[in-house]
C-alpha cells in the first residue's frame, strides 16, 4: 500500500519510511472524517505579573510534516492566540515562557511563535526532535513587545492518540544561558604531495551512503576515506577526476547530495560548465549538460536536495498550486533536484535539473544588480525543498535569495541585522528549516544570524569571533544538521587593519587561523574553536577583491567549504597558504613579521575533521565521536 501513496508524500519522506506514510494516511483519513479543528480554547491573555498563565489543549489531529511551511492548519498544525496586555516596560525582569507537552516519546511536535499574526515574524521556535516529549521557548516582551502572539503548533511526526497540552506563563528569566557540554576538537589532514597542490576555493561533500568525503581542488577531484579502525583516524586520498572536469577551469565547484550520494563536479566554461556526476564517489562518471540553458558566465554554484512538493494535506487544501509544483518535480528515478546558478550582464540566474543534473532547463532570473551584487554564495536546499542562495550585498544589508517553487520565482530577503561585506556569505539549513546565515560583516567580524521564517526575520545575530578577539575574517561557511545544531567555519585573525584589501600600502601584518564555531541550541550560544592552533593558514593579506587583487595576495581565491557526515561529524575543506616549516614557525612567533612577504603563497588542499565532541545529529550522540 505504501508505494502507491508516494506521489502524495513530502519530498523528504523516503520510500522505506512506511511509518510516516501510515501516519500520513491516517492523518488524511482524520482530515476527511473530522472537520478542521483548532486548539481549545483558541486564545488566552496574560498580564505582566509573575505567575500569570494560560493553558490550552491541542486539537489532537495527527500528521507528519517537514516544517511550518508544509502543514495545513486544522489538519496537521493548529493555532493558539496569545495576547500580552500592558506595555513592554511592564515586563521588566519577566519573560514569556511557552511550553507544550505530550506523552509518547515516538511522536514529535514543534511550535513557532509569530508576532501579530501567522504571517508575522517568527520570533521564537521550539523544534527539538524525538525522543523529547516537551517543547519550550522563552520570549522577552521588553524586546518583542506586547500584544498578539500566535503559537503555531506543528505535527512534525505525530501518530493519532497523543494530543499535546500547552501552557504559557509569565515568569522570571532562567538564569542559565551559557553553552554547555564538551567543546569539540578538530584534526587537520593535508593532502599528500602531488594531490591537491593547487587547491584554491575548495568544495567538500559527504556521501552518507558510502561514508566517504569528496572534495574538489581546482583540477583535482579527490575521494577521501577515513580509516576509523585506528585512532586517530588515517586518511586515504584518491584522485578521481571526471572525464571532462580536469581540462580547464574558470571556477571549480563540487556538490555532493549527501542523501542520494550523487556528486556533481563543475568547471565553469563560459555560459555553461564542463560537468559530470558520479554515484560511486568518482569510480565512474556521467557527463552532463553542465548548466542551465543560457546561464551566466561567472561564479557558478551547484546545489540540490529534495524537490519542493506538496504534502498530502496541502494537496487536498490547495490542489492547483500543488499541481504547478508537481510539474517541476522529478522526471526520472533520481528523486532530488539539482540546481545551477551563475551571474552575468547585470543579473543572476538559476536553472533546475529534473533529472539529477543530466540536463537543465532555461535559467530563471533570481535578481538583478539593482537588487543585489552580482556574485553570490552557494546554493543550499532545505529538507522541505526551499532553495536558498546568500548574497553579501543587497542594498544596505546582506541578503538571502529564496525560492519556494523549485527555482521558478525568487524573493530577496534582507538579513536585517547585517551590514554588507566583501566575502560571499553562506547558509546552513537545519532539519526543520532553521536558516543559519554566516557572514563577514562590514566590521570584518564573523557573524551568524538565525531565521525561522525563511529569512523574513532574523534573530541571535552574534559575533562568534569574540572568544579569540577576531578583528578580521574571511570565507564564512556554514552547515547545519538537526534544527538546533550548526557549525560555522571561517578564517580569522586578531590583527586589525585592511586584511582583505589589495595590500598596496604597508603590507597587512596578521596570522590567519581556521576557526569552527558550533551551536547546539539553535544559535543562542556558540562554541568557537581554533581548529588550526599550531599551523597558520595564511600570513598577511587575504585579498577578496577578485581579479583586481595584485599578484601574491589571492592565493586562496574566493571561498572554502564545510560539510557534515552521516554520524554528525563536521568536515571542512580549506586552502592552506602557509605550509613550510619556516612559514609556520613565523606564524607561531608573535614577534615575527607576518606579511604576505612571509607567506608561502601555497594552495594546498587540507581537510579539518572533527575529532571529539557532539556532532550535528542528536540521534548519534549515544556513539561519541573518536579522533
Amino acid at each position: 500500500m505504501c508505494p502507491s501513496f508516494s506521489a502524495l508524500l513530502p519530498s523528504g519522506v523516503t520510500p522505506s519510511n512506511c511509518k510516516l506514510k501510515s501516519i500520513f494516511l491516517l492523518s488524511i483519513c482524520c482530515a476527511l472524517v473530522f472537520p478542521a479543528s483548532a486548539s481549545n480554547p483558541s486564545s488566552g491573555t496574560l498580564s505582566p505579573a509573575n505567575g500569570s498563565s494560560t493553558t490550552w489543549a491541542g486539537s489532537g489531529v495527527a500528521g507528519a510534516t517537514t516544517d511550518e511551511t508544509t502543514c495545513v492548519d486544522g489538519t496537521d498544525c493548529d493555532v493558539f492566540t496569545l495576547t500580552l496586555s500592558g506595555s513592554p516596560s511592564n515586563y521588566q525582569g519577566l519573560v514569556l515562557s511557552i511550553k507544550i507537552t505530550h506523552s509518547n516519546s515516538l511522536n514529535d511536535y514543534d511550535f513557532y511563535v509569530h508576532k501579530g499574526d501567522l504571517s508575522g515574524p517568527v520570533i521564537a521556535s521550539a523544534t527539538a526532535g524525538i525522543p523529547e516529549t516537551s517543547e519550550f521557548a522563552i520570549i522577552d516582551p521588553t524586546v518583542s513587545g506586547t500584544g498578539v502572539y500566535i503559537v503555531h503548533v506543528v505535527d512534525s511526526t505525530v501518530a493519532p492518540g497523543d494530543p499535546y497540552s500547552g501552557i504559557a506563563t509569565i515568569t522570571t528569566p532562567p538564569t542559565d544561558s551559557l553553552a554547555h557540554g564538551a567543546v569539540p576538537t578538530y584534526s587537520n589532514y593535508q593532502s599528500p604531495s602531488g594531490l591537491g597542490d593547487s587547491s584554491g576555493e575548495p568544495s567538500i561533500g559527504a556521501n552518507f551512503n558510502s561514508g566517504r568525503i569528496m572534495t574538489q581542488a581546482v583540477f583535482d577531484t579527490l575521494q577521501v576515506t577515513f580509516n576509523t579502525s585506528t585512532s586517530p583516524a588515517t586518511a586515504t586520498w584518491l584522485l578521481v577526476d571526471g572525464p571532462n572536469t580536469n581540462i580547464t577551469t574558470l571556477d571549480p565547484i563540487l556538490f555532493t547530495d549527501s542523501q542520494t550520494g550523487r556528486t556533481v563536479v563543475s568547471q565553469l566554461f563560459g555560459t555553461t560548465s564542463l560537468s559530470a556526476f558520479t554515484d560511486n564517489d568518482g569510480a565512474t562518471y556521467t557527463v552532463s549538460q553542465g548548466g542551465g540553458i543560457a546561464s551566466g558566465v561567472d561564479h557558478q554554484t551547484v546545489g540540490g536536495g529534495p524537490f519542493r512538493l506538496c504534502t498530502a494535506n496541502q494537496l487536498l487544501a490547495t490542489p492547483v498550486p500543488c499541481a504547478q509544483l508537481a510539474a517541476r518535480g522529478p522526471l526520472t528515478q533520481y528523486q532530488h533536484a539539482v540546481y545551477y546558478a551563475s551571474q552575468d550582464i547585470g543579473d543572476a540566474e538559476m536553472a533546475l535539473s529534473q533529472d539529477g543534473g543530466l540536463t537543465y532547463e532555461a535559467a530563471h532570473p533570481m535578481y538583478t544588480l539593482v537588487q543585489c551584487g552580482g556574485l553570490h554564495g552557494h546554493i543550499k536546499v532545505a529538507k522541505s525543498g526551499i532553495v536558498y542562495v546568500p548574497n553579501k550585498s543587497c542594498g544596505s544589508t546582506q541578503g538571502l535569495i529564496v525560492s519556494m517553487d523549485d527555482g521558478l520565482t525568487f524573493a530577496v530577503q534582507p538579513v536585517t541585522t547585517s551590514t554588507p561585506g566583501t566575502a560571499d556569505p553562506s547558509v546552513g539549513i537545519g532539519s526543520k528549516g532553521r536558516v543559519y546565515f554566516g557572514y563577514v560583516g562590514g566590521d570584518g567580524h564573523p557573524h551568524i544570524a538565525v531565521s525561522d521564517d525563511q529569512g523574513r526575520s532574523w534573530h541571535y545575530d552574534l559575533d562568534v569571533g569574540v572568544p579569540f578577539a577576531i578583528r578580521n575574517s574571511a570565507f564564512p561557511e556554514v552547515v547545519a544538521g538537526d534544527n538546533d545544531r550548526a557549525s560555522f567555519f571561517f578564517l580569522g585573525t586578531p590583527s586589525a587593519g585592511d586584511a582583505t584589501g589589495a595590500d598596496t600600502g604597508t603590507p597587512f601584518d596578521g596570522v590567519w587561523h581556521g576557526y569552527v564555531a558550533t551551536t547546539y541550541d539553535g544559535g543562542k550560544n556558540w562554541f568557537t574553536v581554533d581548529a588550526t592552533p599550531t599551523d597558520p593558514v595564511q600570513l598577511g593579506v587575504i585579498c577578496t577583491q577578485g581579479t583586481t587583487c595584485p599578484s601574491g595576495t589571492r592565493n586562496l581565491l574566493d571561498f572554502n567549504d564545510i560539510t557534515v557526515d552521516q554520524s554528525g561529524r563536521v568536515f571542512t575543506a580549506y586552502t592552506d597558504g602557509c605550509i613550510t616549516a619556516a612559514c609556520i614557525a613565523k606564524g607561531n612567533n608573535a614577534s615575527a613579521s607576518h606579511t604576505r612577504l612571509d607567506n608561502d603563497q601555497a594552495t594546498k588542499a587540507t581537510i579539518i575533521r572533527q575529532s571529539t565532541g557532539k556532532g550535528l545529529f542528536k540521534s548519534q550522540d549515544s556513539t561519541p565521536l573518536r579522533p
Binding site: G200, L250, D344, I345, T368, L369, V370, S393, L557
Partner: protein, 158 residues
C-alpha cells in the same frame, strides 16, 4: 482598392523592414566598446549613479519612458563590455519585436520565462555581440541586454 493596396504595402514594408532588423550595438546611446570616459559622460546625461559591484555599475534613468535602470559592465581595457536595461514596471512596454527581428533570434525558455537571443555583428566597429531580451510576459520584455563577445571580463577568473 487603393486603400487595400496601401495596407498591403504597409504590411509588406513592415515585414521587409523587420526581416532586415538587427539589434543595434547600443542601448540609450551606450555603445559596446565605448570608452569608460565616454560612457560615463553619456550616463551622467541620462541617469543618476546608484551602486557599483565588482566593477559593474547600476544607474537610475531619469526620464526614460521605457526603462528604469541601466547596468553597465566594462572589460579589462575599461571599454563597455555589456549594457543591460531594466524595464520600468509602469512605463511604456517594449516588445521583443521592437528589439530585433524575432525570426532571426534564438528563442529559449517558455511561458513566464521567455528569452530571445540574437547574435549580431557590428562590421564598422568590428565586434561581435549578443542581444538578449528576457521577460515573463509573452509579448513584452522585462530587461534587454547587449554584450560583446570575445572580450575578457574585468572579473574573469584564474
Amino acid at each position: 482598392m487603393s486603400r487595400a493596396v496601401f495596407l498591403a504595402f504597409l504590411i509588406l514594408g513592415h515585414s521587409v523592414f523587420a526581416v532586415g532588423k538587427q539589434p543595434a550595438p547600443q542601448i540609450l546611446g551606450l555603445r559596446l566598446g565605448m570608452s569608460y570616459t565616454r560612457a560615463h559622460a553619456r550616463l551622467t546625461e541620462i541617469a543618476q549613479f546608484k551602486s557599483q559591484d565588482e566593477g559593474q555599475q547600476v544607474w537610475t534613468l531619469s526620464h526614460d519612458k521605457h526603462y528604469q535602470y541601466v547596468i553597465i559592465g566594462f572589460d579589462r581595457d575599461r571599454n563597455v563590455r555589456y549594457v543591460t536595461a531594466i524595464a520600468r514596471p509602469d512605463g511604456q512596454p517594449v516588445s521583443y519585436a521592437d528589439v530585433g527581428n524575432l525570426a532571426d533570434a534564438t528563442r529559449s525558455g517558455g511561458e513566464g520565462n521567455l528569452r530571445y537571443t540574437w547574435k549580431a555583428n557590428d562590421k564598422k566597429a568590428r565586434l561581435e555581440y549578443l542581444a538578449i531580451a528576457k521577460g515573463k510576459d509573452s509579448r513584452y520584455l522585462n530587461q534587454y541586454a547587449i554584450k560583446r563577445l570575445g572580450v575578457t571580463n574585468e572579473d574573469d577568473e584564474k
